[in-house]
């Protein structure tokens, strides 16, 4: 086992450990919400997931620009892998949000601003992954993907504005707000631990996913050489 592989395993292990700790803190140690009761504990998965997804999409944006600029396929591999991670965590956010919404708002889904925005984001990046899957030529796929990722990111502020004018119902953000977080410290800790766990987990996925991409390239090369000889 090489040093890189060992580091990757340590990363994965640390992510698992942190997430287990976060779950314990969130489900057992933290007090139930004064109004919502135990249901509110879903927040400890819901909120870190969406933050992780946003970070992943930001990475897609940056690596897409870098790819178009430097034409290094490693940036492209980073972009695709990050987009996959972002889509998974946006999906988790939507699912946990629905489960949380049913008991607290009485409905699974409502066309509130933040829900709508998350759904739009989800569709844009699912479209990105489909585009990658349908590209006939890998290099063209990389270029198209990069262009789409940049357009998609430019679109976010406009979507934000439009959807907020349209409607708002979601409880306002209680951590990133002027005047400091309004979440009790006992609740903030599991949030932070889970968030750190998810970031580590994403990094772990990213490393493994890029390794996979590299192996894929190498397989293609070997096949090409064999074919030529035979």
């Amino acid at each position: 086992m090489g040093r890189g592989a060992l580091a990757t395993r340590v990363l994965g292990g640390a992510a698992g450990l942190l997430l287990a700790m976060g779950l314990y803190l969130g489900l057992v140690v933290a007090p139930p919400d004064a109004v919502q009761g135990d249901v509110q504990r879903i927040m400890y998965v819901h909120v870190p997931s969406i933050v992780t997804a946003y970070i992943a999409f930001f990475v897609v944006f940056c690596t897409s620009i870098l790819y178009l600029w430097k034409r290094d396929l490693r940036f492209d591999a980073l972009a695709v892998s990050s987009a996959e991670i972002g889509v998974v965590f946006t999906g988790i956010t939507l699912a946990t949000g629905m489960i949380w919404g049913k008991p607290t708002w009485g409905v699974w889904w409502t066309w509130d601003a933040r829900l709508t925005l998350t759904a739009i984001l989800f569709t844009i990046y699912v479209g990105y992954l489909m585009l990658r899957a349908f590209a006939e030529e890998p290099l063209a796929g990389a270029r198209y993907g990069a262009v789409l990722a940049i357009l998609g990111f430019l679109d976010i502020p406009l979507n934000h504005l439009a959807v907020y004018w349209w409607r708002t119902l979601h409880q306002p953000s209680s951590i990133l707000r002027p005047g400091g977080p309004s979440v009790a410290p006992a609740m903030l800790l599991p949030l932070a631990v889970n968030f750190a766990g998810l970031v580590l987990l994403s990094t772990y996925f990213l490393v493994e996913r890029i390794r996979l991409e590299r192996l894929r390239h190498r397989t293609a090369e070997v096949r090409l050489k064999r074919g030529r000889r035979g």
Binding site: T123, F134, E136, R143, Y144, L151, D155, L158, A162, W165
Partner: protein, 227 residues
């Protein structure tokens, strides 16, 4: 410099319009499809006039956008079928003019379809829209520009994909949500009797969207066309 860009853009548009005038492959299909959409809505929603009036702005824009999408999907068809993309790329000079030329053609076709849809809509659904036509036309134009700008870029992209007919709407609609929301809300306010002043924030959003993507899309187009 600008004169040169305009001249080259015009050449591109003129080519597309001439081809279209001779073959009538796109515009006929768009116009008939637009009429059909208005026809079908009636069966989907029933003949209740009050109900129809409530959803009228949304229906109008669905008709606009579906018809527009039909046209966008074919905007690089001729080049693809006759394998002329390379020739297009070989033309010396900036490629922005190719984009703007294609875009102008697409806007022209979509606006033509809208010019049919709007009066037909008023007639079929008994809406008194005749005095409101100038403000409706303004909103329609602003929405069409933004929708077509992203649409033209994505059409160039999806022309090279498998399953291109599916991929264009899959990519286009999520990205144009601000246009759809802005146009529908503005149209709603206009049909409801409010003047343009009432919807100025939506108009500003539409203008902002148009400006951002009229700058970004031609830049991105270079990367899409590259071989």
């Amino acid at each position: 410099m600008v004169a040169e860009l305009l001249r080259r853009t015009w050449a591109m548009t003129w080519k597309d319009v001439t081809v279209e005038l001779r073959a009538r492959e796109r515009i006929n299909a768009m116009l008939f499809f637009a009429a059909l959409v208005l026809f079908i809505f009636n069966f989907a929603l029933g003949p209740d006039r009050e109900k129809l009036r409530e959803v009228a702005p949304g229906l109008l824009w669905l008709a606009f956008l579906f018809t527009g999408m039909l046209g966008l999907g074919r905007s690089f068809q001729a080049e693809r079928e006759n394998e002329c993309f390379e020739e297009l790329l070989l033309t010396p000079g900036d490629r922005e003019s190719i984009f703007f030329g294609k875009l102008a053609g697409n806007i022209l076709f979509m606006v033509t379809a809208e010019a049919l849809i709007l009066p037909l809509f008023g007639i079929l659904y008994n809406l008194d829209i005749w005095g409101l036509l100038p403000s409706l036309a303004l909103v329609a134009f602003l929405g069409t520009v933004g929708f077509s700008a992203i649409g033209t870029l994505l059409a160039a992209m999806t022309a090279h994909l498998r399953a291109r007919e599916v991929m264009l709407p899959v990519l286009l609609f999520p990205l144009t949500v601000p246009v759809i929301l802005g146009s529908v809300r503005a149209t709603e306010a206009i049909l409801g009797g409010g003047g343009l002043g009432e919807v100025s924030h939506w108009l500003k959003l539409l203008v902002g969207f148009d400006v951002i993507f009229l700058v970004a899309c031609p830049l991105a187009f270079e990367f899409v066309l590259e071989e």
